[in-house]
């Protein structure tokens, strides 16, 4: 087990030297042991006629911002559930951070999930806890000390623009604000991977942009972000990698708008402008920051 891990680390190092960001379609891309998410021939069907996901193969790299698009029932949520290990694939291999999910025992699943931030369409907040307590719960679960909680929760709430709503209950907030709480909870542990399943499905266009900007900001801290959505218009404007599903099969895996056009980095404001379909404001190029400690999965679940 220990040698396996050090091997993986060595491979990761080697890859870091050799690998310039290669944004080719997944099918041609060689499978990298350090890909944050790797699906190989994954099939999951609910019954004979109804395929959840059929033979899905793709990988997602560290720091990527990936859209999963497709109509209702296309298999987006199935993919999310497979990643959360809420269910098991019928066949195929899923690796997250190089770790085969089928090797994680039921008992270790909670520790695995602490490395994922999850955002849902229906927010899934605890209804009888305040904004502060909802976010703090994600830390309490990991056994964080009271001091840690008192430091981290206000920080993340400031980042998500909820500083004034600390003691409100979810039902006292607007949909957009509830989703911000949900994002704050997902990100308070600084997970290397953030999954959002239709995060803006219940929100109006303006609020949607706010939430997407928030997710983008999180992506810029180094977290890999996967967003499932059926809002294709928004996705096409954003020029990010898109995987489109139909009837459980991947029918498209590319960067919307063409690879050449993709900027390496843009500010949150530029990102928001893209979303609105406006011409981008004067570009303020920034050096892509190096991944920091938050990018690396902690080893807790690989024990």
């Amino acid at each position: 087990m220990a040698t396996q891990r050090s091997n993986a680390a060595r491979l990761r190092q080697a890859e870091g030297r050799a690998d310039a960001p290669s944004r080719r379609p997944a099918a041609e891309r060689p499978s990298h042991p350090d890909a944050v998410i790797e699906f190989r021939g994954v099939t999951k069907s609910y019954d004979h006629s109804n395929a959840g996901v059929r033979d899905a193969t793709f990988s997602v790299h560290r720091g990527d911002f990936l859209f999963l698009v497709g109509q209702t029932g296309a298999g987006k949520s199935t993919l999310m559930k497979l990643l959360l290990k809420e269910m098991e694939p019928d066949s195929g291999l899923i690796r997250v951070a190089g770790r085969d999910l089928s090797e994680i025992t039921r008992k270790k699943v909670p520790y695995y999930r602490r490395n994922l931030g999850v955002v849902f369409q229906d927010f899934k907040l605890l209804p009888n806890r305040t904004v502060y307590d909802n976010v703090a719960y994600a830390l309490q679960v990991t056994g964080a000390s009271r001091k840690q909680i008192r430091q981290q929760v206000p920080d993340i709430l400031r980042l998500t623009g909820l500083s004034t709503k600390l003691h409100h209950y979810p039902h006292q907030l607007s949909g957009g604000e509830q989703q911000r709480v949900s994002v704050a909870r997902a990100f308070v542990n600084h997970p290397p991977l953030l999954l959002a399943d239709e995060p803006t499905g219940n929100l109006d266009p303006d609020t949607t942009i706010g939430i997407m900007q928030l997710l983008y900001r999180i992506n810029k801290t180094g977290s890999t972000v996967v967003v499932a959505t059926h809002d294709e218009g928004m996705v096409n404007r954003m020029r990010r990698r898109v995987i489109e599903l139909q009837g459980g099969q991947i029918i498209r895996d590319e960067v919307a708008g063409g690879y050449g056009a993709q900027p390496t980095s843009e500010s949150t404001a530029e990102f928001g402008a893209l979303l609105r379909g406006e011409p981008a404001p004067a570009p303020q190029r920034r050096v892509r920051r190096d991944p920091d400690a938050a990018d690396l999965f902690d080893e807790a679940f690989s024990e």
């Binding site: 909670p110 999930r113 999850v118 899934k124 209804p127 719960y137 679960v141």
Partner: protein, 299 residues
Amino acid sequence: MNRVSFFLKEALRSIGRNPIPSFAALMAVLITTLVLGIFIPAVQLANGAAADVRDRIQVNVFMKTNATQADVARVRARLERTEHVKDVVYVSKAQAYAEQKKQNPEAYDLLGNVNPLPDTFRITPDDANNGSAIIAALQTKGVNGKTTPVDPKIGSTKESKNQAAKVVQITGAVKLSLGLLGGLLVVASILLISNTIRLSLFSRRREVEVMKLVGATDSFIRWPFVLEGLILGTIGGVMAIVLLGLAKLTILNQLEGVATLISRPDMIQFGPLIAVLVLASIGVAAAGSGLSLRRFLRV
């Protein structure tokens, strides 16, 4: 320590947020404990009463009314020699008359000064089951199958078994019906508790689902619920015990002088009874919440 206080806070918060299901669970524990608290001593009482009656089984030997002092002395010697006889008490005509007259003065007033009662020996057998053996020993079988007493002056020999058997039967029936009733009530209470806990869990299944999604381990989710059950069980149990204590003080202690049956020396003491009840109520509550949780944790 941090964690324990967190769990405790969570449990109290959940009781406060769901006052009605919590109250129902508390009542269920209270009722179960009350039932057990009444049922355990009641069964013991019935058992004790039956044992008492069994001890009282006697063989009565009635002399003929014309028996003389010499006859009495001879029969007494004979009786004392008989097997299985533990004790012989002689009750003379006059004593029997006085006894009966005291119990039923009107009937004896009607009789005037006539004493219809014979001299009697009351024999206590060494064991309740040996009464009939004594009777058999005091009789000889004639050729025609008729039995005659071993002494011509013995009128008849009877075991007071008929009445005894009746008492034993009645206490048995009481015991059985109490047992059935108690059993039914306990089963009903357990169902009520598990149902209450299941309901309160069902109303919080979304919460449990969210907890699992943010990476809470099963035990992290379970502990507040189990603690909640423990707190409710303890409160319910203590309330039931206070009620039982009040009942003992106000009813049983008053009756003790009147009905000796109610307090028996071998009956369970109040202290141990309380210990049993506390353990039962807490155990039932904890087991109930723990078991109900198992299903819901498989998200």
